[in-house]
Every structure is written in structure tokens, then in C-alpha cells.
């Protein structure tokens, strides 16, 4: 036990000399996090923002209402509506420069009034998750609203339709019509007409706070800090082999298990510090409930120890330090890519996301994302925690085994 503590302190003292490495491990995730936030609009708590392209081929009053609906209230804060032609719209959406392209077909108003089926097409940007979802919802809601509108004012709309276009409606007709409409409006409440385009009344959105896109990136970025630091520190067994201290250890009665444990403990502290700083900044920025901080840290501590041990064990299987370092670094980037450090898992194509969730870091990121986004407190499900604990323990055992099986003796 004393030797665990001695090793722990020894390594922390040594690594203090290497503070610039720590800074790099912190700086890269922060840089990338900053870039992502800037790209996501930089408006932090106010949610994501993007562009909705509307290709209004009908160009009528009713189709105008649809476009207008997207400019309202909270939706308007998130979306900039841009009217485009068919060709321009296709180009922009294919280039990924908008969140969605809504095409309102010719004859939309007629179809709407006549209550015949009509198809609005919405093409969304696969690289984004939240905004296209919102657009989809709003469009659905609008169509629902259209249905209610049609049900309520069908008669009147049909009457307007029946009037000879050339002559225009007679004054009497218009006034009788307005009386009828007014009556219905009065009966149903003043909110009725705007209601047609007011999502909240027609179909209230789910009560849970909408996750903003930066928040979805956060676990991946924290994981990036964790991976950088755990991979970096895992080279320390190789360093100790090069300096000959591993050999000195083998010829002393000091226990290798305690040595591995002490070093892993020191590494975990550093990794937890680095990913903890990243996490804390994310908590502050996104206003996440602090009650989730400790469980999140605990989760990262388990994961950090596990990654450190596995990286170390794998590095010790390579014949030279250079090869070990090079290969584990090369390995690091696909791992980050797949496991949601560059794009949130939710933004990846389904098949890739499900592969990503099976990668060890993707697994850790996925659980952390669920917990941070959820409105509820941390759910300590036995399965996930058993898995990280198993990753950690197996990695540590593997390190011990590798040291004893000859790595320390060369």
C-alpha cells in the first residue's frame, strides 16, 4: 500500500516537469470546442440557428403563410428563412449550407382549399440534427393547422372559391362572409386565427428543454481531452523502460502490481483533472445542472483509468517505443472520429453511429450525452457501470501481466 502511494507521488512529481504536455491536451479540445461553438452560431444558451430555404413554387397567400410561420417567435430566433428558386435551393442544400429546403409545390393553395392531398417536400441537412428536426416538426404542425383551418372555415373558403374571379366578390357577400368568420372566431376565441400558425396551441411541443447543438458536442470534446491525456500518459511505461527504472524495479522487492496501480492512480488524477476542466467549462457554458457534475466526473474517472491502462498495455506490446507511440497516435484519430469527438454520434449516419457506440470511447460518450441531455438525474444503470469497470480492471491486469511477462526486464 505504501508503495502505491510512493509511486503515485513519484509520478505526479515527475509529470509536473512536463506541464506543457498537459497544456496541449487541454488546448486541442478547447480549440475544437471553440470552433464548433463558433460554427454553431456562437449564441450559446439561445440555441442553434440555421437557414431554412423555401422554394415556394405556388407563390400564393396560403403558401406565404407557411413561409411566414417559420419566421415567428422562437422559431424565428433559430431560423433565417430564405426564399430560393428550385435550382439555387438544391445547390445550397447539397453544399450543406442550410439546415433544410422546403419545397411548396405549385397548386398548394388550391389543394389546401379543396382539401385534396398535397405533398410538401422537406430535404434536410444530414450533417445537422436539431434544426432539421425542428423544421420537420413545424412543417407537420403547419399541415395539421391547415387541417383545422380547413375544417373550421371550409364552407367559407369554398364560398370564396365559388365567387366569379372576374367580377370579384360583392360587398354584401364579403360582409356576410366576414360576419360568419367573425362569429366562428369569437366563439373559438381570439387566438384562433393566429392559432393556425401557432404551433404551441395546436400541438404543444414536448416540455423537455431542447438540447442545443453545442451541448451534443460537449461529451465528445471532453472525451477528446481524456483520450489525449490518457494516451500521452500511457507512454510512461515505455519511458521508464528506456530510463532503466523498470529494470531497477524488477530487481527490487517493490511489487509490480502496486507500481502499476500507483501509476494508474496518478494518471487517472491528471486525466480527471484535464477532462474535468473541459467538462466544467462545458457545464458553465451550457448551464447544465451542477448536480450532474459529480456523477459525470465519476464516469470519466472510470473511463480515464480504463483508457490509460489499455493504451499502456497495447503500447507495451510493440517492439519499440517509437512504433508504440506512432501507432497508438494513429489509432487515436479514427477512434475519436468514430466515437463522436468530432461529430456528435447523433449526427453520424445511423450505421456509423451504431458502430461508434460500440467503440469504447463512443460508449462512454454516448452514455454521458444521454445523461447530460436528459432532464432527469443521472441514472446509475448497472450495465454501463459494469462495462466501464470491466474495461478498467482488465486494462490494469493486462498492464501488470505485460510488465511481468518480460516488458520490464529488457
Amino acid at each position: 500500500m505504501d508503495f502505491i502511494v510512493a509511486t503515485f507521488r513519484k509520478d505526479l512529481t515527475r509529470w509536473r516537469e512536463d506541464a506543457h504536455a498537459l497544456i496541449i491536451w487541454l488546448a486541442i479540445p478547447f480549440l475544437i470546442g471553440g470552433l464548433i461553438t463558433a460554427m454553431a452560431g456562437g449564441s450559446g444558451g439561445s440555441g442553434p440557428s440555421g437557414t431554412l430555404l423555401i422554394d415556394d413554387r405556388d407563390d400564393t397567400l396560403i403558401s406565404g403563410f407557411v413561409a411566414g410561420a417559420f419566421a415567428q417567435d422562437q422559431i424565428g430566433d433559430m431560423l433565417t428563412v430564405q426564399n430560393v428558386g428550385a435550382e439555387e435551393g438544391k445547390q445550397l442544400i447539397d453544399a450543406g449550407e442550410a439546415s433544410g429546403l422546403l419545397t411548396i409545390p405549385e397548386g398548394f393553395q388550391d389543394a389546401f382549399i379543396n382539401d385534396t392531398p398535397v405533398v410538401l417536400t422537406l430535404k434536410t441537412n444530414p450533417a445537422q440534427t436539431i434544426l432539421p428536426g425542428i423544421i420537420e416538426n413545424v412543417t407537420e404542425v403547419l399541415l395539421d393547422a391547415g387541417f383545422y383551418l380547413q375544417a373550421l372555415f371550409g364552407e367559407e373558403i369554398a364560398a370564396i372559391q365559388g365567387v366569379d374571379d372576374e367580377a370579384g366578390p360583392s360587398n354584401a357577400f364579403v360582409s356576410s362572409m366576414s360576419v360568419q368568420v367573425n362569429d366562428k372566431m369569437q366563439a373559438l376565441g381570439p387566438a384562433l386565427f393566429p392559432l393556425a400558425f401557432d404551433i404551441e396551441i395546436v400541438e404543444p411541443p414536448p416540455a423537455e428543454p431542447r438540447p442545443d447543438i453545442g451541448l451534443l458536442f460537449l461529451p465528445g470534446i471532453v472525451m477528446m481531452a481524456l483520450l489525449f491525456s490518457s494516451q500521452g500518459l500511457s507512454a510512461d511505461f515505455w519511458k521508464e523502460r528506456e530510463t532503466g527504472t523498470l529494470r531497477r524495479l524488477v530487481s527490487s522487492p517493490g511489487l509490480l502490481n502496486q507500481f502499476v496501480f500507483g501509476k494508474a492512480l496518478a494518471a487517472t488524477l491528471v486525466i480527471a483533472g484535464i477532462s474535468g476542466i473541459t467538462l466544467a467549462v462545458g457545464f458553465l457554458y451550457h448551464g447544465i445542472a451542477w448536480s450532474k457534475f459529480l456523477p459525470s466526473m465519476l464516469w470519466l474517472i472510470f473511463a480515464g483509468a480504463g483508457f490509460f491502462a489499455w493504451f499502456a498495455a497495447l503500447q507495451m506490446l510493440f517492439p519499440t517505443q517509437k512504433a508504440a507511440n506512432l501507432l497508438s497516435t494513429i489509432f487515436l484519430f479514427p477512434l475519436m472520429m468514430m466515437g463522436g469527438s468530432f461529430f456528435p454520434l447523433a449526427a453520424l449516419p445511423d450505421w456509423l453511429a451504431s458502430v461508434g457506440r460500440m467503440s469504447p470511447n463512443g460508449f462512454v460518450v454516448d452514455k454521458l450525452t444521454d445523461e447530460l441531455v436528459s432532464a432527469n438525474a443521472w441514472s446509475f444503470d448497472i450495465r454501463s457501470w459494469t462495462i466501464v469497470a470491466a474495461i478498467m480492471l482488465s486494462g490494469l491486469l493486462l498492464c501488470s501481466w505485460r510488465l511481468k511477462s518480460g516488458f520490464a526486464r529488457r
Binding site: 530510463t243 524488477v250 522487492p253
Partner: protein, 310 residues
Amino acid sequence: MLKVDNLTKQYGDFTAVDGACFEAGDGKVFGLLGPNGAGKSTAINCISGLLAPTSGHISVSGFDIVRDGKKAKATLGVVPQELALYEDLPALDNLNYWGKAYGLRGAELDARVREVLDYIGLADRAKDLPKEFSGGMKRRLNFGCGIVHKPKVLLLDEPTVGVDPQSRARLFEMVEAERDAGACILYTTHYMEEAERLCDSLAIIDHGKIIAHGSVDQLKAQVGARDVLQLSGRFPDGLAATIADRGIADLDVLTDESNVLTLTMTTASHHLPAIFEAITAAGGSVSETSLRSPNLETLFLLLTGKELRE
């Protein structure tokens, strides 16, 4: 006490140590003298438990290093040939850490570390990082790390390689102090002078085999009183035989090549005129002459026909 019995270590097909047997007693320095590649470090690494012997037995303070490794290692101190230091950890912490690895704790450890720092002459640099140290200072710290726990058996593997004369003298004093404190010391070197100065008894090792064994005086007696005469020049074939015919007592020919001739004999200086005469008569010529009185180096030359240091 250190006992090495029939130790053999093979790397694949290559035999680095071949049936070595020796014993070193407490309060004594036992030397392992041999050229580079002789197998000294391999032997030391087997004794310290770093390498598993291919065959043979090693007992350290009465414990078998293979079967009773932990107890054996607890009494063992190792000063490896290659530095084994944490260069990014202050000298004091290096000593502290290895003290703890050997089970020292608390006030006892503190006192001992202070003592060792004084002893290795680094008391005023205790807080500094070894990476800022000179080669000699690092060697002394390397030595200190091997003795914090006052080992009963101390293995020193060429501790003076690359060391300035001052640090070297200090290292010798430290080895002698450990010996006087009762430690059993195994000292490997390829310097004859070191072996002669420090060792009570020694083994000469070449190609993994121990080729001579005994106290310094015994080994010197093995050389006899014979000097070694080495001549360089141009020598015709059959010259050695001609010289041997001159009837010089105790004459032996060690090397007989067209440009080098190594001979050994008693009081060589008396026979120089006769030898030169024979060479001239045979049509040869001498460009360089070296005459050495008997020592361990000439013993090695006698036994192997080659120099200890090439």
C-alpha cells in the same frame, strides 16, 4: 553471501554465460574482470533476478533468486551499468522512492536518505533534477539508489565507465566503505587497475567462461614472474622457432604473426640483445617494442592471447 553455481545463460543459440561458478563472502569485494561482451552484465542480471538463468543456481544471502525471489531481492542492492534514474525527479526523491521500494519508511528513511546524499556528495544538489547533473554526478546518484537500503549483497556493474577521475576516486571510497560495513560486493570491470585495487578475489571471464579464479596474488602467481615482450615490425616465417632455439628459460610464444610477435619469459630485459640478434639474423626488423611486468592484464593475455581492452 553470494553463491553462483554453474550459471548458464543462453540467448537463443548464443551462450552469454557458460557454467560460471563463484562465491563472494561478506565484507569482501569479489571482482568479475573481462573484456566487453564477456558476459559480465548478463551474469549480474541473472543474479539480480532480471534474467532467468537457463540453468544453474544463484543464492543471495541464502535465498534462491528464482524460488525465493522476494526475500533474495530484499537483501540485494544493484548499481546497473546503464544509469537507472528518474531524470525528471529531484535527486532526493529518487533516493526516497527506491528506499520505499525496499520497505524503508518514515524517520528511518529520511535519515538514511540524508546520509546517502552526504555520502555521494550531492547534499547541496538534493532538490535538483538529475537531468541537469554531470555524468559523474549521475553515476554517484545511480550508486546511491542502489545502497539506500543498506544491502547485504551489492552488485556493481562497471560503475566507473564514463566517470571523471574525481568521481571515480569517490566511488572507490564508497565501495570500500560498503565493504567495511560488511557488505558482500560483486564488482565487474574491464579495468585491470580497478580489479587490482579493489578486489580481494576475482574471476576472469571471457566468452562467458571463467578462465581464471582466485585472489589477486594467486592470479599474479599464475602469471609467474614472467614479463610480456611485445614486438611490432616485419618478421619472416619461422622466426619464433629460431628464437625458441636460443635456449631462453621459460620462453613461451603467445602470438606469432608477420607483424606482431608476443613472447613471455622471466626477466625479459636480460634476453633482449639475444632476441634482437636473432631477428636481425633472420632478416626481420623491429619497429616498436613494449615490455610489461607481470599483472592481471598480462595474465589475460597469457590465457587468451588477446588484450583485455581492445
